[in-house]
């Protein structure tokens, strides 16, 4: 993690200690950031009657387990969680693998047309994927007959222009050229160089890319809503069905929102430091 996380001791205020005013304002910001999620936990642990009271309840209740049981028995949440886990895992593995491969080629290998191809990668980052959604659906539904199946979600997300660019930027500085030359002298093929030299060096950045990809895939909404069905939903699609249902049991709906968010919160708690580093590092370079 050293290269990604090197603290930069420059900048205006990093020398100045914060006063109580700064802490106070940041405290309010943090409170606003966390309150909606805290309140979700509160609502998910009461029954609907309780959360419709005035003044509103503000401390967690005792019905969390009952609500959880209801979410898993009365909705497709179990299937949805499994689907999202499968899709997000496959997409993450694929994106990390293909991005590291292409990022290595763009950072360290010589080949004709490299500059132009890298330009294409950067340009595609700017194109909103939403615009091709109708033909993509036509492809999946009419031609490949993948609509409603998980491969309809995995295939289009299997590569990422951002990922290629991210890994290229990282490997260009983190991978010593001498290391590659030494490998060549030992008779390594390019593939073997990738496997034994590049991948170990790329690991910290690959972990960050993997976490970002996993969270983005887990949270993706528009395309899964189009491509999947209520019989075979992802977590986000199941959530939207819960919200649009005829029977309104708000504590159940919010319990669903809680269940769908928990895996991401766990990932964030474990890898938050690295994710922060990835976002801030990407900002300086991008």
């Amino acid at each position: 993690m050293t290269v990604l996380m090197t603290p930069r001791r420059r900048g205006r205020n990093s020398q100045l200690s914060a006063g109580w005013g700064t802490y106070a304002v940041l405290g309010v910001v943090l409170l606003l950031s966390m309150f909606p999620l805290y309140w979700t936990l509160v609502a998910a642990s009461h029954d609907t009657g309780d959360i419709s009271r005035t003044p509103p309840v503000l401390v967690p209740g005792s019905r969390l387990l009952d609500n959880l049981r209801a979410v898993f028995t009365r909705t497709d949440m179990r299937l949805a969680l499994t689907n999202s886990l499968v899709v997000s895992t496959l997409v993450t593995i694929s994106v990390v693998f293909t991005s590291t491969l292409a990022g290595f080629a763009f950072a360290k290998l010589r080949f004709r047309g490299k500059g132009a191809l890298l330009g294409v990668v950067v340009a595609t980052m700017m194109v909103p994927p939403q615009l091709g959604i109708i033909p993509l659906y036509i492809m999946m539904a009419n031609w490949l007959h993948w609509a409603g199946h998980l491969q309809a979600l995995v295939a289009p997300a299997a590569v990422s222009a951002f990922g290629v660019f991210f890994m290229r930027q990282y490997l260009a500085t983190a991978l010593p050229t001498e290391l590659l030359e030494a490998g060549r002298l030992d008779g390594c093929s390019t593939w073997r160089l990738y496997w034994h030299v590049v991948l170990p060096v790329a690991r910290p950045a690959a972990a960050v890319l993997g976490m970002l990809t996993f969270m983005a895939t887990w949270n993706d909404f528009f395309w899964p809503l189009v491509a999947m069905t209520q019989q075979n939903p992802t977590v986000q699609v199941a959530l939207s069905a819960l919200q649009g249902g005829y029977v309104r049991d708000y504590s159940l709906v919010l319990c669903g929102a809680l269940v769908s968010t928990l895996p991401i919160l766990v990932v964030f708690a474990l890898m938050g430091r690295q994710i922060l580093g990835g976002i801030m590092q990407g900002a300086v370079k991008g």
Binding site: P56, L239, V253, A283
Partner: protein, 320 residues
């Protein structure tokens, strides 16, 4: 490729390894970038281009044989005269403005505070980023409850200061404000971290010499921090613009009626992406939906161009 690995005795089979080595160094780079370009070409580029073709047809999913009905520019002419399209353009730009501008200003302020030497720095930053890792669907569902008419927390708080219950979904401005709050909540912290990264790259000497010249803190912020952050600000403005013009999940799920794609009883918060979805998914109009998609692409490109020109102008003004 994977087979050719161990170094061989050079003398014995010199010719073969050399040829393989050439093939490897020439071919491997292309093989390594190929997966990206193949998958992107099939599932990214092709649909985008094909949207252009579909938009010139009268393709409807409920009318067999209509996929080859070439209608020329008729979809675009219809679009030009479609009041719902212009309504969606108005809503998208309106919601985009009141969600992007306050959000970026707030982010700048938060970044300024985060840039002080803080105890528990990493935890504070993670807390600020927390809203951004939650999903649009979950967040919108949560905020729908907070903005509820009868029992919502927001109306309860407003009631404490004597404001009557607001029906947030019903009005144009109220629905725009509520949706903007959702967007702002999710993205302010992310942008603050981007600004923070930019601020930390500004050389400290600039501030030292300004302080020696007697410049106040506010003046330092205006004359050093903001100008030095300009590329970062431009980046966030463009990314937020592109994002806000594609707003979809928030307006869809904010609507708790049985016809969520309408964007409210008066279509008061139906955005362009939502209107595309409505035409394509609810009304089965593939051709017309594709035309809206292309129009959206044009609008996004226009806004990005305006951003870039404005950025150049501002730089010109500073220089003179």
């Amino acid at each position: 490729m994977a087979v050719m690995t161990r170094p061989r005795p050079a003398a014995a089979h010199a010719a073969l390894p050399v040829r393989r080595y050439r093939l490897d160094t020439k071919g491997a780079p292309y093989a390594f970038v190929a997966p990206f370009f193949v998958v992107f070409g099939v599932f990214g580029l092709f649909p985008l281009v094909y949207t252009g073709y579909v938009s010139l047809t009268g393709w409807r999913a409920d009318t067999p044989g209509s996929e080859s009905a070439f209608v020329g520019w008729r979809n675009y002419v219809a679009l030009w005269h479609d009041p719902f399209f212009w309504n969606a353009v108005k809503n998208t730009i309106g919601i985009g403005l009141i969600s992007t501008v306050p959000q970026l200003l707030l982010a700048l302020g938060v970044a300024h505070l985060l840039n002080y030497k803080l105890r528990g720095r990493t935890l504070i930053r993670m807390g600020v980023l927390l809203p951004n890792v939650t999903s649009v669907a979950a967040v919108t569902i949560i905020f729908v409850q907070l903005f509820g008419r009868d029992y919502g927390m927001v109306n309860w708080l407003l009631g404490l200061v004597g404001v009557d219950h607001v029906d947030w979904q019903a009005g144009t401005w109220t629905s725009w404000i509520a949706i903007s709050v959702i967007v702002t909540w999710r993205w302010t912290g992310y942008n603050a971290l981007i600004y923070l990264a930019g601020m930390q790259a500004i050389p400290f000497e600039l501030y030292e010499s300004a302080a020696l010249d007697g410049a106040s803190r506010w003046r330092q912020f205006r004359t050093i921090t903001v100008p030095m952050l300009r590329p970062t600000i431009l980046f966030t403005v463009i990314v937020s613009t592109i994002g806000s013009l594609q707003l979809f999940g928030e307006p869809l799920l904010f609507n708790t009626s049985q016809t969520p794609t309408t964007g409210g009883s008066q279509h008061q918060f139906q955005t362009l992406a939502l209107y595309t979805y409505d035409q394509f998914w609810q009304k089965f109009k593939y051709g017309y939906g594709a035309a809206i998609s292309w129009a959206m692409f044009g609008i996004i490109a226009l806004f990005v161009a305006v951003n870039l020109v404005a950025a150049r102008r501002m730089r010109g003004v500073d220089a003179s």
